[in-house]
């Protein structure tokens, strides 16, 4: 035990507490800054002084301040709600991606490539057509459940397809995910067309959008995202150990089956909640965990909170671009923007897969 005497804590090499806090704070500051910037942008250009004023005294009567009630509504009920929803959706998707990558030991896994997102979108749109997901809050709350059912169905299909030769291969799994995803996408289109829905609702589900969302939607998914995120954080240590492989993890006392079940369940649940209000936003869950891992290392207890924040930031930025890029004032689906940002990154990862993906 003479190791104790010369024990030096700095052999730990973990990213230091100060560095981690700096990263978290940087993400939070960036989120707030982007939220501020995005609140002024849009069809109604709102002076930042007004935005600031409204943010700091949201419940004050506006009449006396010379602020139009309409402006107040836009800043607080439309744009701020949308900001919160973007952060929650992005955070949830990125977190789910980190979990899938960890639990399946697959660097290409994310809610989109595994078909879970599209499954959720399919579940949600089917529920709407069957009429159980109207616009009232009570029936709206059935949407995440339907999305979750769809997500689990898709995951199961992908799992069946992916283990054709009895083993779960990295690339086969993603291939199966893409197949299921494509198939379900066309089913969504078909369902919507048969129901004589407009093209825009189809695009909403397949390419994702945060257009016209409100606080109701934020409140709708918040319980799922919060509970799911905490559950995932609860298993952070097991996720670390699982990266050594199933057998090793089991030999170290991890109940691999149980952890894997709960993690797949939870990641799919938060994905479903996100998709139920935003449609399918791709690439967030794939790109963000890799980037953040490069930044602060692979240890999940540190990684996961940062992944959530970074995912939220990415979708917030993407949504800002999506709704302000076109001069006509028309909105792009936010999934288009994330794909444009994420596609090249995905290629980069593939080209350097030896270094980053250990494929």
């Amino acid at each position: 035990m003479n190791g104790t005497t010369c024990f030096q804590p700095n052999i730990h090499g973990r990213s230091s507490l100060r560095f981690r806090l700096a990263c978290y704070s940087a993400f939070i500051v960036l989120i707030i800054t982007t939220a501020f910037v995005t609140s002024g942008i849009g069809q109604f250009h709102i002076p930042y002084k007004t935005v600031l004023h409204l943010w700091f005294s949201p419940f004050e009567e506006t009449g006396g301040l010379g602020v139009d009630e309409r402006i107040r509504y836009i800043v607080l009920h439309v744009r701020l709600a949308r900001v919160c929803l973007a952060v929650a959706v992005g955070g949830a998707l990125a977190l789910a991606g980190a979990v899938y990558q960890g639990i399946l030991r697959n660097p290409l896994a994310d809610p989109f490539t595994l078909g879970v997102s599209t499954g959720a979108a399919f579940g949600a749109s089917a529920a709407i057509i069957l009429g159980i997901g109207g616009i009232h809050l009570l029936s709206l709350s059935a949407l995440p459940a339907a999305a979750f059912a769809g997500a689990m169905l898709a995951l199961y299909l992908v799992y069946l397809l992916g283990r054709i030769d009895g083993r779960l291969h990295t690339t086969t799994l993603v291939l199966a995910g893409i197949i299921v995803s494509t198939f379900l996408s066309s089913l969504i289109s078909l369902l919507k067309s048969l129901n004589e829905d407009s093209v825009s609702t189809i695009v909403f589900w397949i390419m994702g959008s945060l257009s016209g969302r409100s606080w109701v939607h934020v409140l709708l998914i918040l319980p799922y995202v919060a509970a799911g995120s905490l559950t995932i954080l609860y298993f952070a240590r097991e996720l670390d150990i699982l990266s050594l492989g199933d057998i090793q993890a089991q030999q170290m006392g991890v109940d691999v089956q149980r952890v894997r079940f709960w993690m797949l369940f939870t990641a799919s649940l938060i994905t479903a909640a996100a998709v139920a209000v935003s449609g399918v936003i791709g690439f967030v869950g794939l790109v963000v965990p890799h980037l953040v891992r490069l930044l602060i290392g692979p240890r999940h207890s540190t990684l996961l909170p940062a992944v959530f924040l970074a995912g939220g930031l990415l979708v917030l930025i993407a949504d800002t671009i999506a709704r302000s890029l076109l001069a006509s004032g028309e909105e792009l689906p936010v999934g288009v923007v994330t794909a444009i940002l994420g596609g090249p990154f995905f290629c980069y990862l593939l080209l350097h897969r030896r270094k980053y993906l250990q494929l």
């Binding site: 035990m1 190791g3 104790t4 024990f7 804590p9 052999i11 730990h12 090499g13 973990r14 960890g102 030991r105 660097p107 609860y234 240590r237 670390d240 150990i241 990266s243 050594l244 492989g245 057998i247 090793q248 089991q250 030999q251 170290m252 006392g253 991890v254 109940d255 891992r293 290392g297 692979p298 240890r299 250990q358």
Partner: protein, 258 residues
């Protein structure tokens, strides 16, 4: 320490271990030898609770395997398997820290004791220099040393090794075995290791079990069972056994078939 009674196990439609029985006592240093496909790895997986037996029973420190919760088992047995496929670039010191998992409660921060154990295990395996390096960037032999440190950090009374030194060079391999020998002698660590290298087994193991086609061919003190007859039965290759004076243990030379 470990009681094995009429153990049968394998994979669906293919029984690999066909009824073996033996006891491992505290402080033993056992080598499990046999040709490829003789069931060595399968046996070790069954002893470590990874592969559920299809018949018979395994008890660890008096408790049947299936009644031990995973963490309890991991406090009794540390095991290292042949292949490691580590996905994320953890610094080595964090990998060794993972070995403390079975001793930690969920929200517990790591204690001074944990840190001291990690430090000591890295010192005796001479892996301190690798502490900051990323596990994914190491050579196979270096990885095995780090994983050995991790297994030792589990602080278990029993250590199961499956070719855990296969990628190390001769110097490192002997060094690790010397460390194990010392732990075995001083702390009473029970070591059970699957080996291909008969001569390493002859140097360090005090008991050898020869497996062939899922059955025990010979089981006993090394001096007693390491005979030309046994080796020729198991490996079907002519052998020559000699006892170099400087070594003081038997050594085996496999002869090319005539």
């Amino acid at each position: 320490m470990i009681q094995v009674r009429d153990l049968r196990c394998g994979y669906p439609g293919h029984e690999v271990i066909g009824g073996v029985s033996f006891d491992f006592l505290q402080g033993e240093f056992v080598g499990i030898l046999g040709p490829n496909g003789s069931g060595k790895t399968t046996l070790l997986l069954a002893l470590g609770g990874i592969l559920p037996p299809s018949g018979g029973e395994v008890a660890v420190l008096g408790t049947p395997l299936n009644r031990l919760r995973p963490k309890e088992l991991a406090r009794r047995i540390a095991a290292l398997c042949q292949n490691s496929d580590i996905r994320f670039p953890f610094p080595c010191v964090e990998v060794v820290h993972m070995g403390r998992y079975p001793h930690q409660k969920r929200w517990q921060m790591e204690s001074r004791h944990d840190a001291a154990v990690v430090f000591r295990c890295m010192a005796i395996t001479e892996t301190q220099d690798l502490a900051e390096r990323l596990i994914t960037a190491l050579s196979g032999g270096e990885q095995q040393r780090v994983l050995m440190a991790k297994a030792l950090a589990q602080e278990t009374p029993i250590l199961l090794l499956d070719e855990a030194t296969s990628a190390m060079d001769v110097h490192r391999k002997l060094q690790i075995f010397r460390v194990l020998e010392k732990l075995n002698r001083d702390d009473g660590l029970t070591v059970v290791t699957v080996l291909h290298d008969v001569n390493v087994a002859a140097l360090f193991c005090r008991r050898i079990i020869f497996l062939k086609e899922g059955k025990v061919v010979a089981d006993g003190p090394t001096e007693g069972v390491l005979t030309e007859e046994n080796l020729e039965t198991v490996y079907q290759t002519p052998v020559l056994i000699h006892k170099p004076g400087a070594v003081g243990r038997k050594q085996v030379v496999f002869l090319p078939p005539p």
